[in-house]
């Protein structure tokens, strides 16, 4: 069984490159029994999602926002 350090390393690298089949299998086995690493994985997705939405949300809805502000 891989360690939590190794599991978090793979979850971080998953945001940089596709994991190999063997890495994926090991990670799946690890997160099945490790709630800490499951949360780590969720939080990594949350972080990326929050950062990208923070920028794109305002870019896409500038006109919308200023219109509703006038009311």
């Amino acid at each position: 069984m891989m360690s939590c350090e190794e599991a978090t390393r793979l979850m971080s690298e998953q945001q940089e490159r596709p994991l190999k089949l063997r890495e994926k299998a090991g990670l799946t086995m690890h997160t099945a029994i490790c709630s800490g690493c499951r949360e780590f994985g969720r939080q990594m997705h949350t972080l990326r999602d929050l950062i990208r939405r923070d920028y794109s949300a305002t870019n896409d809805s500038d006109s919308e926002l200023s219109d509703s502000d006038k009311k």
């Binding site: 350090e5 971080s12 690493c37 972080l47 950062i51 920028y55 305002t58 500038d62």
Partner: protein, 194 residues
């Protein structure tokens, strides 16, 4: 400009904004002149159309998105800035998170953050986020921002910083561990206690 009572307040706001932008730019471009040029160009471009932005929060985010593109241009261009000894203390750097067998230390094991959808619009959250980012070792903050805020890919970052892919991955892993821990301690725990 006497007929504009908000002028002083607006000038203060822009000074604040400029300071934030410069801090953001300097994290990625240590060449002071290049960083200042990027900020100046982004700010000028944004202010030319400032009248169409009625909310300060919107203006700030909008200006930063322009700045982000300016920085990406600089970093994708000929600009090279090698990271020196990026992994000097890599070996012991995760000791505070993992025990000898590589498992989570008690007290830093990730716990659920709960709902996060509303955080995008929460300015207080982004202030805490910025503080956590600034608390990272500079080279970690830098690669994290290049990757997540400027959205350069691994290859582009490695080229700009003359860094190996494996070193980049190590730095990003460290950055994510620290940032997650800082946000958990400074924001999410507080929130659950409210």
């Amino acid at each position: 400009m006497d007929d504009l009572p908000v002028t002083d307040a607006l000038t203060d706001d822009i000074d604040d904004l400029r300071r934030d932008m410069l801090a953001f730019a300097r994290l990625q471009i240590s060449d002071e002149h290049l960083a200042e040029d990027a900020v100046q160009e982004a700010l000028e471009g944004a202010l030319r159309n400032a009248s169409s932005f009625s909310r300060k929060a919107t203006l700030k985010t909008w200006v930063f998105s322009i700045l982000r593109f300016k920085i990406a241009d600089i970093l994708r261009g000929r600009y090279r800035e090698p990271v020196r000894e990026a992994c000097k203390d890599c070996a012991g750097d995760t000791d505070s998170y993992f025990d000898d067998s590589g498992h989570w230390q008690a007290g830093v094991t990730p716990r659920a953050w709960g709902r996060t959808d509303h955080l995008v619009a929460d300015r207080q959250f982004w202030r805490v986020f910025d503080a956590c980012l600034e608390a990272l070792p500079p080279e970690q903050a830098r690669v994290f921002m290049m990757r997540e805020f400027i959205e350069l890919d691994s290859r582009e970052i490695c080229e700009a910083l003359e860094l190996s892919t494996s070193n980049l991955h190590v730095l990003l892993h460290r950055a994510r561990l620290r940032l997650r821990e800082c946000l958990s301690a400074s924001w999410f725990n507080e929130e659950s206690e409210r």
